[in-house]
């Protein structure tokens, strides 16, 4: 079943067309990759899907709902989680609070109940805390629940950010360059980690990544874009042999010898 269906998606910023006529079809449960040279428009696509930009043209259909024009928080409530290229945790809040806060869309109590401390308030705060601790336990992060993210190593921060995205129980997880800034040992861990999440959380993953090791190891289907246009798509093997992709990444051989 198709989870995400993007048709004719275009984003213009003034005179610049960042993304044009994008077509995407993601099946439920797949692991997809999105690659392309710097400035190709990859993060713009993610920003549109997560509701941060409103597309100039086209529609994004997610799980039966048209989501373009919706605010990011309601898109998250519908089931799209994401991480950022540069880690955007709340650094002056504990790891536990970070996880708790991404369940803000279904707290289960109204704005007056924190003041009145009703039974319902305590019940739901307990539910949120238990669920957050359980999730941290699954990620083996329970020991740092009360640490501040700014004091943690970069690799751990990445894991906390992924855990935070999963706390909102998304059906689709967008990973924006999860391997950026990681050491090569951490990258190997990350690959196992993402595969493990994909197998255990019953989730569709769509990732942007520059490190081919990550993309080629994980993704079943890859889309390559350049200057906002799709230039190739296919399985990792097909992409690696595609002359257009090689040209986009390495330049035209003809140029060199001309």
């Amino acid at each position: 079943m198709s989870l995400v269906k993007i048709t004719d998606l275009t984003q213009r910023f003034g005179g610049l067309t960042a993304v044009s006529d994008l077509q995407v079809d993601l099946e439920e449960g797949g692991l997809y990759g999105l690659i392309g040279p710097n400035g190709a428009g990859k993060t713009t696509i993610f920003n549109m899907v997560s509701g941060f930009y409103t597309p100039t043209e086209g529609t994004i259909n997610f799980d039966g709902n048209v989501i373009n024009g919706k605010k990011p928080h309601s898109v998250t409530a519908l089931g799209i989680g994401r991480t950022f290229q540069n880690i955007r945790l709340w650094h002056d809040m504990t790891v536990l609070d970070n996880i708790r806060l991404s369940q803000h869309y279904h707290l289960g109590y109204s704005v007056f109940e924190p003041f009145l401390r009703t039974k319902n308030y305590f019940k739901n705060e307990k539910r949120i805390e238990d669920k957050s601790m359980e999730l941290l336990g699954v990620f083996n992060l329970q020991d740092i629940a009360h640490e501040y993210p700014k004091n943690l190593p970069y690799g751990i921060q990445r894991r906390v950010e992924i855990a935070r995205a999963l706390a909102a129980e998304p059906k689709l997880l967008l990973l924006d360059e999860p391997a950026a800034g990681l050491s090569s040992a951490d990258v190997v861990d990350l690959i196992d980690h993402i595969r493990w999440i994909h197998d255990n959380f019953d989730i569709t993953i769509w990732m942007i990544e520059h490190q081919m090791e990550v993309i080629m190891n994980l993704c079943q289907y890859i889309k390559v874009i350049d200057f906002g246009k799709t230039i190739a798509e296919g399985t990792p093997d097909e992409i690696q042999k595609n002359p257009q992709v090689i040209k986009a990444y390495l330049g035209d051989e003809g140029d060199i010898y001309a």
Partner: protein, 340 residues
């Protein structure tokens, strides 16, 4: 056990408060000291309410006195119309002695109206932030003060009075230091409400906006709604402090809620350290006492106080407490009082 000790702290506070009232009733504390204590209370509410926006949410509001003015005028007009003979309606609408029960509701109504005035800043804050929002808050302060200056039925720039009569009407029934009682009660209520809200996951959504607004929005926090809540909560409490201020002094005029008054709140919050509730309380106490000590120096105090602020910003930019609470600094207090 911890719960029991927190209760004992509350009982202890209650005893101190009751003792203060009894001493005041029998004239053991002179009126000057009483009024200083009341101003400390009013400043605590005023400063902590500003710290909701400037401290917890990380926006820069510099027109906080505008909302204080709304609360002060609304509750003053209401209480004068309801409980005293006035030029507008002639006789009082309700028997003056009923003020003894209705007074807190009058103050609360002033707070609610001020909370809605807070929407004047909340809606622009969806699209603007930082310096630009700060300019909007100053503009709102000016709009409110200018509007009051031009409203003939509240006395325009001459100001509005008659609130003392309401206080006298209450003391005619039973002689008690009412204003001291209500200031104290609303201080406790304010701290109680802020503390409860910001320890809940709901309230922490506002702190998330301060630390990273984009992440907050993407991680399912409805930032526009949280901004409305923060501004309404903050300006509502400022309105309560205004209502109390008006009834303690017995007289309000627009110029007492000018940008200078807003600056006082800023000084208290920044002296305290942003995002520290106990810090705001401590600095409101210090600041009010300092103002009283410097009273003989007249205008010179407006040289000395800014100088203190400059020195604090130079040598301790995060404020006296930073974002710490008292129990973080004195761990033994954790037994009695926990904030985070």
């Amino acid at each position: 056990m911890g719960n029991f000790q927190q209760k004992s702290l509350f009982t202890g506070g209650g005893i101190v408060f009751a003792l203060l009232l009894v001493l005041a009733k029998f004239g053991m504390i002179d009126l000057y000291v009483q009024s200083v204590i009341m101003f400390i209370g009013i400043n605590i509410i005023f400063a902590t309410s500003l710290s909701i926006v400037n401290g917890y949410m990380g926006e820069f509001s510099c027109g906080h006195a505008g909302f204080m003015a709304v609360g002060a005028y609304v509750s003053s007009v209401l209480s004068v119309l309801l409980f005293t003979e006035n030029s507008l309606l002639g006789g009082s609408l309700l028997p003056p002695s009923s003020a003894i029960f209705l007074f807190p509701f009058i103050i609360l109504i002033g707070g609610v109206v001020a909370a809605f005035a807070g929407l004047l800043v909340a809606f622009p804050s969806f699209k603007t932030r930082d310096d630009y929002l700060a300019i909007i808050t100053i503009a709102v302060n000016f709009i409110i003060v200018t509007a009051l200056n031009n409203m003939a039925f509240v006395g325009g720039s001459r100001g509005f009075m008659g609130m003392k009569k309401v206080v006298y009407a209450m003391t005619d029934v039973v002689k008690l230091p009412y204003m001291l009682f209500w200031v104290g009660t609303f201080v406790v209520l304010t701290i109680f409400l802020i503390r409860r809200f910001f320890t809940s996951t709901y309230g922490k959504g506002i702190i998330a906006i301060k630390q990273d607004e984009v992440a907050a929005e993407i991680m399912s926090v409805d930032t526009n709604k949280m901004k409305i809540i923060a501004f309404m909560f903050s300006s509502g409490l400022a309105g309560i402090s205004g209502g109390l201020f008006a009834h303690v002094i017995g007289y309000v005029n627009p110029s007492s809620f000018s940008i200078l008054k807003s600056t006082e709140a800023l000084v208290m919050v920044y002296l305290a350290g942003m995002g520290s509730l106990s810090g705001s309380v401590i600095s409101a106490i210090l600041f009010t006492i300092l103002l009283e000590i410097l009273r003989p120096f007249a205008i010179l105090k407006w040289v000395i106080i800014p100088l203190i602020l400059i020195l604090v910003m130079q040598f301790r930019p995060e404020g006296l407490m930073g974002d710490k609470e008292l129990p973080d600094l004195f761990p033994k207090l954790k037994k009695y009082y926990k904030f985070k």
